[in-house]
């Protein structure tokens, strides 16, 4: 079993991002289903929040990349 622990850390960070962005997406879908005319606002806020969460995950990934 090769590789380093840093790669494991990267994978864990992506799990967190996946869960977070998945939750954003699902709630956004529900909100659009409830109120289809607000789709523009909901989409913009969804993308913004996803970018923030992805930022945290990508910081972890790049740090892990630098370690190993």
């Amino acid at each position: 079993m090769g590789g380093s622990v840093a790669a494991l850390g990267m994978g864990l960070a992506v799990i967190g991002a996946g869960i977070g962005i998945g939750m954003i997406g699902s709630r956004a879908m529900e909100a659009i289903a409830r109120q289809p005319e607000a789709v523009g606002d909901i989409r913009a806020n969804m993308i913004l929040t996803a970018a923030l969460i992805e930022g945290a995950a990508l910081i972890a990934i790049v740090m892990a990349f630098l370690v190993a």
Binding site: L48, A51, E54, G55, L58, I59, I61
Partner: protein, 463 residues
Amino acid sequence: MKKLLSIFLLIFSLAIVANTQQDNHAHDHQGEHHEGHDHSDHDGHDHGSHDHSHGDDHDHSHGAEHVAHHGPNACGMVTHSEEFDPGALAFHHISDQNVYNIGTLQLPLPCILYSKDAGVEFFSSGKFHADYHGTGTYAYNKYVLYEGMVRRIQGDFPSGLVEIGHDALGVIEETVYKEEDGKQVEDGTKDVVYLCHNGTKVACDNKSTLDGGLFGGGLTSFTDFSITKNVLSMIIMVLLMSWLFLSIAKKYKEREGMAPSGAQGLFETIIVFIQDEVAKPFIGHKWEKFLPLLLTIFFFILGLNLWGQIPFLGGSNVTGSLSVTMVLAIIVFLVTNLNGNKHYWEHVFWMPGVPAWVKTILTPVEVLGVFIKPLTLMLRLFANITAGHMVMVIFVSLIFVFSKNGTSYIGGYGTSIASGLLTMFMMAIELLVAFIQAFVFTILTASYIGAAVEEHHHAEEHH
């Protein structure tokens, strides 16, 4: 639609044909012994040009200008390894360089270097006579160019222009020792660039960086103030943006009372969007003072992100370099803290409305937060853009890995198609990421400034 499809298929078939040409470096060397772990790869990868999927431009002439020497050189260093190293290639493509590769054309850039013993030196990087890799065949005033970056030769070496030839520079992985309990203890490895000259190995220093050795930097024997690829890209972007926005401003003056036209209309949409959705809601009634800053940050980051995504234009990874994002974060830090009013500082040091013991916990957290918020801005932008560039390089590298450096045709063809499609998809995502990251940086800046200039109007509610 049909025309578009036919053009697309044509470009693809060209790409595939170009890919099959690379096996003139097929590896038939047996019994290679590696002195050290080498990063300099010589195989048919995209030489210096950051092209993503279509039209891998292999300069087929390089057999003539470069001796394809695959064995160890005179000092026993292996300068061009057999193995294809995608990690090193990715690092090479996301880091700054002293030469600008546009397609197959290599543009020499001015080098401004300061070292303690020789002072400031100003010369063109063309003096290094670099090959398409960015590795110089000449040393100048004890400086060499290896993989696009300037290094300084340590120890005694003749000044002026000295020919070092091909295969003179390579990387050797050295173990670093540190003092512990009075004896030397291994502390990991470091990649050091060595120059082989007249049979002797001379170590070469990297430039000084403020990253504390993260990318092999730290304070070394010289500092690099050159006009590198990133600096040139920023200068071009600033000139472009100035011209664009000054002409739009002129149009507003000329077309007083008339409907906006052309670029004026496009940018008015974006500017009004940032004014109404970002500045006014987040900053409050002082938004006019900070709107120019927000717009500058947004368009600067957007422009630089997009500049790095243009294929064949050198792939300059400007916003993906920690220095640029650090400066932007420092600007945001200064603006928020210099405009902080009494309530802002009160919230940081002595949060009102909570019990005293909570205050003592909150104060260090808030003080750290003052520094961590710009730090996250810096890291978020850096990580997103760098990750995007790296993914591009890795998808193209997949072609070389699966085709086993040109020996497997099935792997090569199949991966070219799959990787080409994947790369196109990733480029679309990267365009989206460019916009999103610029927008997120702007909106967070507005949020931090808003927190700093917020008036105290919730005295009656619970905090």
